[in-house]
Symmetry: C2
Subunit: 523 residues, 2 copies
Amino acid sequence: MGSTGAEDAAAPSRRGRGEGRGAAARRAMRSGGGPGASSPYIQRRIREYEVLDEEGLALIESNADIVLDEVGIEFRDDAEALALWKDAGCDIRGERVHFPKGLCRELLKTAPATFTQHARNGARSVQIGGKATVFAPVYGPPFVRDLEGVRRYATIEDFRNFVKLAYMAPSLHHSGGTVCEPVDIPVNKRHLDMVYSHIRYSDKPFMGSVTAPERAEDTVEMCKILFGADFVDQNCVVINLINANSPMVFDETMLGAAKVYARNNQATVISPFILAGAMSPVTVAGTLTQVLAEVLAGAAFTQLIRPGAPVVFGTFAASISMQSGAPTFGTPEPSLVSYGAAQLARRLNLPFRTGGSLCGSKVADAQAAHESANTLNTTLLAGTNFVLHAAGWLEGGLVSSYEKFMIDIDQLGMMQRMAEGVDLSESGQAMDAIREVGPGSHYLGCAHTQANFQTAFYRSNLADNNSYEQWLAEGEKRIETRANALCRSWLQNYQAPELDAGIDEALLAFVRQRKESMPDAFT
Amino acid sequence: MGSTGAEDAAAPSRRGRGEGRGAAARRAMRSGGGPGASSPYIQRRIREYEVLDEEGLALIESNADIVLDEVGIEFRDDAEALALWKDAGCDIRGERVHFPKGLCRELLKTAPATFTQHARNGARSVQIGGKATVFAPVYGPPFVRDLEGVRRYATIEDFRNFVKLAYMAPSLHHSGGTVCEPVDIPVNKRHLDMVYSHIRYSDKPFMGSVTAPERAEDTVEMCKILFGADFVDQNCVVINLINANSPMVFDETMLGAAKVYARNNQATVISPFILAGAMSPVTVAGTLTQVLAEVLAGAAFTQLIRPGAPVVFGTFAASISMQSGAPTFGTPEPSLVSYGAAQLARRLNLPFRTGGSLCGSKVADAQAAHESANTLNTTLLAGTNFVLHAAGWLEGGLVSSYEKFMIDIDQLGMMQRMAEGVDLSESGQAMDAIREVGPGSHYLGCAHTQANFQTAFYRSNLADNNSYEQWLAEGEKRIETRANALCRSWLQNYQAPELDAGIDEALLAFVRQRKESMPDAFT
C-alpha cells in the first residue's frame, strides 16, 4: 500500500548500497564547488494554496460524475480494458465506457496515498505524495538549444548530458524520463539507451518508456536486472507518464503501457494533456471537470489491473491563444487549473503531478522566466508531489535548453527553501540579536548574524547582485551567459556514480540482445 | 473613518469630472490598440496565502511588544514627537521611546481599515485596503535605462514619460511618486515638477513629496488647488511613503513629512526599509518582529497627530548577500517576510503595502524576470493592498527601465486576471460544451468556445507564442526588443487627459512662485 514516512523513502534499495548520500556529497565537494549533494526530496512545511471552496469542489466533482455517466470515456482498441470495465459494472457502448456514479472513487480506495519510488542509491529514493515534492527535469523535446546557441535535433549525447546535469543538480530529486528525444537512435530502440543512460549516469530515480507496451516491458526487465525481480514486484522502482488523449479518450498505446506498469506494481501518472480551448473547454471550471473525469477513469483502470498499484493524479495545463491557436504558458488560467486540480487530487487521496518551469519563449529571456516562474510558484504552492519539466523546458516543450536548465535548477533551490517556511525556534526569533543591536545600528557583525549567516539566506550561483561597475567590468553578462559557463564547468567536472560491474554488463547484454532482435539493427 | 466599498472609491472627486472612464476607454481605442482603459483597481476574489499559524502570529506579536517596551524606538530630532509620546504615556529616555504594552494597538483603533484615495478623474479613484489591490510604478531610481539601451541619469523628460506610460497602462491603477529622480532639476525644486507632472500628464491618483516637511506642504497646497481645500481636509487625495530608518529609528525628515500629511488627513505608508541581515536579523521571524514593532510605533504616531488619518502598514523586504553585502531580490526569505507581514497587518486592521516587481539584475533578462515574478506572485497572494515598484524597477531600484516597465505591466495584467479566481457560473462550468464535443473531438469550434473565446484567456501583448519558424522570420526577437518597440509606439500615441485651464494656470503659478522664492533659481 505504499509507505508514508520519509524514513521509508530513504531506505536503501536491494542493490547499489555503495553510493550513499555522504559519498555523493563528498564527491560533489571535490568537483569544484558547482554541483552539490541533493536533498532526497522536499518535505513541505508550508500549507497549500487553494482557489476553490467546499461548494466549488463539490460542484466540480458532481459535474465530473455526470460526465463519466452521461458522456463516458473512450478506451480505444483495447478489448481487455472494455471487458474489465464491463465486469466492474460499467455500461459499454462501442468503445465508450459509461461509469455508474461512485465506481471510480470506490476502485481508487486501493491506490496508495503516498508511496516510495526507490532509487538504486537508497539515499536518493523519493516519497511521492503527502507533503513531499519531487522535482524532475524536462520530458519530451525532440530539439535542444545547445551550448553553442544552436537549435538542432537532440542526440543520445545530449540525453546523457541532461542526465548528468540532473544527477549533479542539488535541487533535482529525480532523473526524469525523456529528457530529450535522442533522434539519432531508431525509434524502436532508443528507449533501451534512454533507460540505460538513467541507470548508468545517475543514481537518482527515473522514468520508463511508454511509447509501446513492449518498450514498457523492456523497462521493467532492466529494472529487474538492477533491483532484482522480487524487489520490483513488491516496490515501485520506476514511474511512468500516461497521457490521456483529451478530451475523454485513452488510446491503445497509453493503455498498453499503463497495463504493463500497473501489472508490475510500478507507478503511473495519469495525465490529461490539456491545451484549454482545444482539448478542454475555454473555462477553468470546465477544464477541471473534464480533467477530474479523465483521471478518475484512467487511475481507476490501474486498480482494475492490480489493486494497490501506485498511481498519480496528473494534470498538464496550458491554454491556447484563441487568436493564433498556439499554446501559451505561465498565464493565469493554467495556474487556476493547477491549484484546483491539486485540491481535487487531495480529496481523492492521490499524489498529484502538475506544472514545472513551462514557457513558450524561444530563448531563455524574460518571457521564458516570467512564464516559468508563474508556473513554478503555482506548482509549489499548489502542493504538487511530482513535478515534471522542472528544469530545461523551452519553446512549449519542443526544446531542451542547457542554459535554461541551469537557470531553472537555481529557481528550484529557491522553492526548496521556500517550502521550509518560517523558523520559529529561539534562533529564528532572534530576540537576542534585536536586543544586542538596538536602534540605529546594524546587524552585520552581531553574534546572531555571525552564527547564522552561512545558512541564513538562499544563495544563488547564477544571479548577479554586484555593483553596476563590477558587472560592467566583468563584461555586462546576461544570466544565460553565466549559465552557459556554469553548465560547461559542471559537464567537465562530472563523475559517474559507481555501478556494480556485473549489473552494468547484464544491462548492456540485455540492450544488445534486444536491439539485435529488432528489424533495424543500425545502432 | 474611510469608506469600505468599491462604489465609494469610484465616486467622482469634486473636480475633473470631464474625464470619465468611458472617455478614457474610447481614447485608448483610438490610440491604436496599445494602451487601454484601466480597471480602477483589483478586487481580489481569491483568498490570501498564509505562512504563519495563530501560534506563530501571537509569538511574533508578543515579541514585538517586548521590543517596543524593552528596546524602544528612536524618534530623532523631533521634540514635538517626543512630547506627544510622553503625553500618551510612554517612557522617554533621550530620544528613545519605550511603549507600554498595547498602547500602539489602542491608538491604531482610529485608523481606517480601508479608505479611498481620490483621483482627479473620479472613475480612477482607488480603494486602499480590504480585498482591493492597487498597482503603482517604480519609486525612486536616480538612473534610467533608456530606449537606446543607455544607462544614464534620469531627467524630468524621463519622469514625464513614465507618468505617461503609467497613465496609459491598463494594469496600473496609480501614477506613483518618484517614478525616477529628475536629477536635471535642483533637489529643492524638483518635487514641484514631479507633482505637477503627475497632475498634468495623468488623471490617476499619485504620491507626494516626503524629502522635507516644506515639500510635503507644497504637495498639499497643489492638491488643494486641484481638489479644493475643504475636499482635501476631509478626503485622501495623496498617499506618501514614510520609510523607517531601520533598525528602530524614525528620523526628522520622515517624521516631518509624516506630520504634514497626517495633519492634513492624507495617507502615509509607514514602511520599514529592510535589507535583512543588515537592517534586521538574518531570520524571517526576527525580521517580522522588528517590522511589526517599527510599524506599530510609526503608524500609531500618525494617529497621535490626527486620529483617523489613513495609514498603511508597509514592508519593504529584501535580503543582503552575506558574501558581498549586496541586496538580493526575489529570493525565498523576503517572500516569507511579505506573507507574514501581510498577516500581521490584517490582524491590525490596517491596509498593507509590500513587494512589486523587484530584481537585482542590470538588464531585463531572465534573472530580472524570475526575481520580479517571485516577488509579484507573492505580492498578489499575500493580499497586498498597495503595491509600489509594480513596473519598471531594475538593478535593485537604482534604475527605471522603459523596457522592463512594458514587460512588467503585462505581468500585472495577468495578476489582475488571476485575482478573479475561478468562475463557477453555468457558463464557467461549461457542461454544455463537454456534452456537445464529447470524446475524441476538439473544442475550437463549439458554441461555448465561440461565445467565450474573446475573454476566455488573458492575452499578452508581448509574449511570443508563434512557431519557431515564424519567430525566426521575424528576426529572432527577444522580449526586450518587442517591449522597446511597444514602448515607443505608446509614447508616440500618448494623448494627455484634459485638465481645467484655470487649475492648470493656478498650479503653474504656484510652482513658479515657489521656485522663485528658493535660493537656486536655475530652472
